[in-house]
Symmetry: C2
Subunit: 359 residues, 2 copies
Amino acid sequence: MPTRMSGPTPTRRPAPRGQVRVSITDVAREAGVAISTVSAALNGRTGVSEDTRQRIAGVAERLGWVPSIRGRSLVARRAWTVGLLMQRPASVLEADPFFAGFIGGIETVLDDAGYALLLQLADSRDGVLRRVPQWAHSEVVDGIYLTDVQSDDPRFALIERLGLSAVAINCASHPGVATVDQQHHPGMGALLRHLLDLGHTRIAHVSGPDGFVHSAEREAVWRTTLTGAGVRPGALVRGDFTSEGGARAADQLLAGDEPPTAVVCANDLTAIGFISRASALGFAVPAQVSVTGFDGIQLSGFTTPPLTTVQTSPHDLGAEATRLLLHLIGTGEVLHHELPDAQLLIRASTAPPPLQKMM
Amino acid sequence: MPTRMSGPTPTRRPAPRGQVRVSITDVAREAGVAISTVSAALNGRTGVSEDTRQRIAGVAERLGWVPSIRGRSLVARRAWTVGLLMQRPASVLEADPFFAGFIGGIETVLDDAGYALLLQLADSRDGVLRRVPQWAHSEVVDGIYLTDVQSDDPRFALIERLGLSAVAINCASHPGVATVDQQHHPGMGALLRHLLDLGHTRIAHVSGPDGFVHSAEREAVWRTTLTGAGVRPGALVRGDFTSEGGARAADQLLAGDEPPTAVVCANDLTAIGFISRASALGFAVPAQVSVTGFDGIQLSGFTTPPLTTVQTSPHDLGAEATRLLLHLIGTGEVLHHELPDAQLLIRASTAPPPLQKMM
DNA sequence: CTGAAAGCGCTTACAG
DNA sequence: CTGAAAGCGCTTACAG
């Protein structure tokens, strides 16, 4: 086992590593005032002479004292922390294009407000439903984000019962819960119409995994837009939002006699995997088969060919959700925000179907 | 402004939303025992009759009581939280291939231990140095991760002074700080030798941004390996770890009279951007120019052509670092762990240099 | 303008 | 086996 101890005699010591912990009591003693005066002085409350305030500030500075969030939280009943609990195995999250952008957006707003983000993954639905009350009762977070909301999501009842502040991402509004949305339908619809306009009539779909809201939604738009245009939906292959899944789908879809002339993938990763395998199988993209993605990840502009996709805004969702959540925590007022729709981004992975197929 | 209030009469209410908060006192009263008995019973301490324990558990269950981490932390001097503080603007982080994997690894270990991750970004060096003592004094985290360690990093002194438990990633060991490492040199060296073996003699480098340890390290291996083999290092273009930077580098490197026959990029994103632009400029990869990456992100296997790169293990780094950190917090024992070296991954983006250049 | 006291929700000796 | 008390580090009425 490569783990080794440091040096010949490993140092064993208790968690608080023998340091002098300075508390409000020390500052008060040193400054010759009561602890309540220290508290008032450093929290900018009125009723402390400028003189005393200065002296206390000096002592605190010299002793290197910062108020303990812990002690403060206990009485203020605020944790100065918000929680993001995602039901996703760590492995999936690592490839999730939504994740990093969403967190980045959260952090930009959170940091300025002096809040921190508590992040936890649960690998099952039950895991989530167990953690939420734990967080609420422990008062370890002041509010939470709700992502991947499902219809009849039991978390809403839980949140109401627990009196937890929450902001939900991309879902119908529930009483007491703030929401921030970005419409995906219009962009997805535009994507389908773009393919129809190019002349495609055999349009397949590589979906996301079962049970995800996004999977169902994108599949529905694919089906209804085609049907609405009088075109029969092509083959449907179930993917899993990964490039591996996209590659497997290419194997399935391109093997038959009449392969589709366009393939609508549930996300960019899937599309990139599809294109990779299609190329390996000798199918030229977009000359023989057009391929589309969804998400608009940064790399989608640097694939060969660059990907036609729908540009979503995980960063903005995270930032706006955080604003609404902090507002709810602070004022109790439930707000709702709608981001501009996700936009169709036409690039080079789509073209008219091959001529011989057009008659 | 699209933000709107919900319903005709916005509900304003204080943060604790009028819920009955149940505490240990309630459980004790209901069960007819002292709060110390409740505490002992539910923490599995000895000295409570099985009968009483059952009764108390029943009451706690019925009342939906979970011990408050807050109250517990105050006396136990443990936060049951570890902190990850990265000096990176949110925007960079969103494209950072290390980030998601590292966090994924952290979470797999943390969740099982009942710990949570506190995540915070700082946009400057000073921001980091301000937060660390804040966290330490507030006792809001029990330990922290040190990433992007620089030589003479001031955080080590800070940590020692504050008596904070810490684990450092990929850096020389410091007294009192656990470390977990994965050697990148050998894989990077193997990558360079692979290009030399293929017959390349004009090998350029697109580096990472200034001031990052990884940038300096990879550049150094590029330079010394070539020099050691008697080959003069080719052109050096400064990149920024993004695909945009890689594309710009392609413009610079491929414009001249004698373009390089191989380009070593500081990471996969850069390489993918480079290939994209190179193709657009009419350069065939790898026929006319070989391109290599670094990181081994999932998508690197699905580009066209699939990328020759060095496979690193952010997930394993995160998981192992977390194990060592929790061990340090719990026992005070400083351990060190070395992951298997990052491995060269030969795929299709490298080939012998074009013939006419070989004489 | 300042201080003594109570209390937030727990755990940990200590006494019965 | 069980309970009363002290205390963790703060803030918030309240009294001087």
